[in-house]
């Protein structure tokens, strides 16, 4: 069933969106992005940003909203689009601040640490990417989507919760090995 554009005034539609996010319906992501892009774009292009900046920030804002909705940490006091616009505003303010600091400050230790952390994160992400899809899925469903073992079993067509538990354990172990082989343990454990 195609997902129709919703009207924000309809609170049922708002709840429907949250429900669909919980179901993992990624079409909602697209709809939200298309709805929020014009206003985020306007805000950014009027504040020293380009359209590319606007797309980047709008995408991040929608993804952050998605993550919050998934994790149940979402406290809604406004319409979804307004909420996402607010996230976009904060992200752009941070970006402007980062650019300002980058312009006026020399590289210092903090930046060195940031670079090191980024490098570590990059290795982990590359290792996750090298896992097979079922491993990635089970880890994402468990750690990102915060699904229960039963939900994962149903979603992935596994026999039971024990199967999920075992698969998750093995996949996590595999990931650890990959990461540790790419990066000396001392870098993580010091």
């Amino acid at each position: 069933m195609p997902f129709k554009l919703f009207t924000n005034k309809d609170s049922n539609s708002e709840q429907q969106i949250i429900n669909r996010i919980h179901e993992g319906d990624e079409q909602v992501l697209e709809v939200l992005y298309k709805q929020c892009f014009p206003m985020i774009s306007k805000m950014i292009t009027h504040n020293n940003g380009t359209l590319e900046d606007a797309m980047d920030i709008a995408q991040d804002a929608v993804v952050i909203f998605w993550q919050k909705a998934i994790s149940g940490t979402l406290v809604m006091s406004s319409k979804i689009t307004t909420y996402i616009y607010g996230i976009g505003q904060n992200l752009w303010l941070k970006e402007l601040e980062r650019k300002r600091k980058f312009q006026f400050q020399k590289k210092d230790r903090h930046e060195y640490i940031d670079t090191e952390t980024k490098e570590r994160d990059k290795i982990i992400i590359e290792c996750i990417d090298s896992l097979d899809k079922s491993c990635r899925d089970v880890l994402i469903h468990y750690y990102y989507d915060e699904m229960s073992m039963a939900q994962i079993a149903e979603r992935m067509g596994l026999k039971n919760t024990d199967s999920v538990k075992t698969k998750k354990y093995k996949c996590k172990q595999k990931l650890e090995e990959l990461v540790k082989s790419r990066y000396s343990e001392s870098d993580f454990l010091d």
Partner: protein
């Protein structure tokens, strides 16, 4: 597996309060455990980042009409700004009218000619300005509209800034022209505006006028046809009414309701006609 689960439950906030307290104590005393916990946190953070990148990558493939959305507010904003400025400019150049409401169509029906930039003519001795005010007051709308209710409209033209060649309010003198000067409508400080009230409800006064508190009341069928007021500035302001091809003097000191009498002085009529045509 047990240790793995314990660490996993800790980093995913699934431990009970009592378990959490004892585990946190263990972390404080066991450096190796703390390092392992940090490593697990990094992995989970990495999984979350990976998923976010994955979702963002999906959005990167979504086409949003940047060429339409971005400039649209600029275009509309620009157009509305220009429109606003034009409206402000238009109304700022008009003397305020009490109930001026005018549509473009209705403006056409008044057959008003606007002269915003007319060269002025200067006198040797004294510069006067003729303010020609053309008013259309309470235009009766088409008959079918009248069935619903009479809509009274009052339209007042922006004043024309002309040099007044009159040295006297009652005597018209041919101006001596030095050189044409372009009028700046905002420079002129004389505000020609005499409020006119049309009253056609009194049978007794069917073609009369009255001056009261600086306002002119016209009694008669002035709402049926176009009339014009000519304000001529000399020592004092003198008002002339132009209605159905005739001129009438409106004495500003006439507080009694007085019958309108057409001016018959040929030379005065010629001058008034001349100013009117300007």
């Amino acid at each position: 597996m047990e240790k793995f689960e314990l660490i996993d439950d800790y980093v995913t906030n699934k431990l009970e309060k009592s378990e959490l307290e004892s585990f946190e104590k263990a972390i404080l005393s066991d450096k190796e455990l703390k390092a392992e916990v940090d490593f697990q946190k990094s992995l989970i953070e990495g999984i979350k980042q990976y998923r976010n990148f994955e979702l963002k990558a999906k959005l990167k493939n979504v086409k949003v009409s940047t060429s339409i959305w971005a400039p649209r507010p600029l275009i509309f904003g620009g157009l509305s700004l220009v429109a606003t400025l034009l409206i402000i400019y238009f109304f700022a150049s008009k003397p305020p009218t009490p109930t001026a409401t005018l549509t473009e169509q209705k403006l056409d029906s008044t057959a008003i000619v606007q002269k915003n930039e007319t060269p002025t003519k200067k006198l040797d001795s004294e510069s006067h300005t003729v303010k020609k005010v053309v008013e259309n007051q309470k235009i009766s709308i088409a008959k079918e509209k009248a069935k619903v209710g009479i809509i009274n409209l009052q339209a007042q033209k922006p004043t024309l800034k002309l040099a007044d060649p009159l040295s006297d309010t009652t005597q018209v003198v041919e101006p001596k022209i030095e050189e044409p000067v372009t009028v700046n409508k905002f420079e002129n400080t004389i505000k020609p505006k005499t409020e006119v009230i049309v009253d056609n409800s009194q049978k007794k006064y069917n073609f009369h006028y009255q001056s009261k508190n600086g306002k002119i009341s016209l009694f008669g069928p002035f709402d049926k046809n176009l009339y014009e007021l000519l304000e001529i500035y000399g020592i004092d302001k003198t008002l002339f009414l132009y209605f159905k091809d005739k001129f009438y003097l409106l004495d500003m000191n006439q507080s009694e309701i007085t019958k309108l009498v057409p001016i018959k002085d040929e030379s005065l009529l010629k001058k008034l006609q001349g100013y009117r045509e300007k």
